[in-house]
Subunit: 232 residues, 2 copies
DNA sequence: TGCCGTGATCTGTGATCACAGTTATCGTCT
DNA sequence: AGACGATAACTGTGATCACAGATCACGGCA
């Protein structure tokens, strides 16, 4: 009996179906901006590219369509949705509020190890934004790592999931912009606001953390809106 | 050419696939509480019950699983997730903030016709909560209609969608509770808080609307938590 | 040269089959 | 009678086939 106990105790074992893997793959492509608004896909081409059958792709795509991260037009065309200017503004407002809530909650509920993790992510991003010729893909990933380190520290997994859905929508726009305006990394106010958020979370000051994260989100959104690359 | 113009102007034509219909069907069952936490389903039984093949059900279920409205256990069992006490508390906090934001936004952005629609929904709910032997299913639907009339008036469809996902999670718990404690309809503070929210939205007072909706949500959640029917 | 019909090709959607793994049932043995 | 074990039924997952509808390119008519 002890052998069985030993096995069962070491088996969290959440299985990864092929559909889950395909979902994670396309999701990464979207958040990192490698799939840009307007890009078209097809179930069969994705299936061939990933070396799987059409079924797991269908499962993954149906989830992404439900998330509004992809859309199926009435013409049966599958593509990354275009984001209208108005919608991008609205999403920035929503994100500032929701991610601000997560940051405030993180300041109140974070554990010590979470603080060190956030600090490490903040340092990585700061170093990268000061580098002479920063790797943009890495910068995007570092920014994401910092933000979600904060959000995870909120202790509200349902909230983190909602934020993940929001990033899935704005990811293509934000990262496509960063790729075209790399100077924003150095000149933007992201790095100091991250440092401010980290300090607030360390001090347990919820309102200060909320304001820092909200300002970070609004700053990036305002920059992109000023470049006016969005339709409408 | 004028004939073509006449045709194209009258064709929004968003098609409803079978998968969409099955999704909407199961979603209604969940939000109205007819599928309770712990209930088990199977793809084939649902397909047979709805008279369709297994495929549309798979598509609908995969979306609901992504929404955490259903779960597939490692044993390949498909069921409505149990909600832990802590998660329900967290969701109430999140809902108060997010739905409060929607209410505040509604107070600032609502149109005249939206105000009349909200007022109509408020009146229907008030009448029903005062009735001697109220139809519980209808009461649940009226409550939902009022809340979403408010949220729609925010002019933020992305926010409404997020709230829909939250209701999908808490729906089974809330409506199961209401079914077992029908007296809460009359004794609870839902009706006056709805009236307060309506008045605030009519006056364009965002903060008052936010507080009223947040209080409504917290009131219902506190009642359910006091009944202590949730595990953990 | 410009426009429109037409067929080949590709699209997502739905149905059916195959399979490995689990659960439940029933018969058998002690 | 009670516990065990084999077998049958059922589970979600994945692959393959079928189909209606849409797109695109090519060719013929004006």
């Amino acid at each position: 009996m002890s052998a069985i106990k030993a096995l069962s105790s070491a088996a969290p074992l959440e299985r990864q179906t092929l559909g889950d893997q395909v979902y994670a793959h396309i999701r990464r492509l979207l958040i990192s901006g490698r799939l840009a608004p307007g890009d078209r896909l097809s179930l069969r081409s994705v299936a061939d590219a990933l070396g799987v059958s059409m079924m797991p792709v269908r499962e993954a795509v149906s989830r992404l369509v439900a998330d509004r991260a992809l859309e199926v037009t009435p013409n049966r065309a599958l593509r990354v949705p275009e984001m209208r200017r108005r919608q991008f503004q609205d999403l920035a407002l929503i994100r500032a509020e929701i991610e601000g809530l997560a940051a405030a909650s993180a300041a109140l509920n974070r554990t010590a190890s979470q603080v060190t993790e956030i600090a490490a992510a903040e340092q990585r991003f700061r170093m990268l934004s000061r580098a002479r010729d920063p790797d943009l893909v890495e910068a995007v990933e570092c920014n994401q790592a910092f933000h979600f380190a904060v959000y995870e520290a909120s202790g509200l997994p349902d909230l983190v999931e909602i934020i993940g859905g929001l990033w899935l929508k704005v990811g293509p726009v934000i990262n496509l912009d960063l790729r075209e305006n790399p100077e924003r990394l150095a000149t933007g106010s992201a790095a100091p606001l991250h440092a401010e958020a980290l300090a607030a979370i360390r001090d347990g000051d919820g309102e200060r953390a909320r304001k820092a994260i909200a300002a970070d989100i609004r700053g990036a959104a305002d920059f992109i809106l000023s470049r006016n690359r969005l339709p409408d």
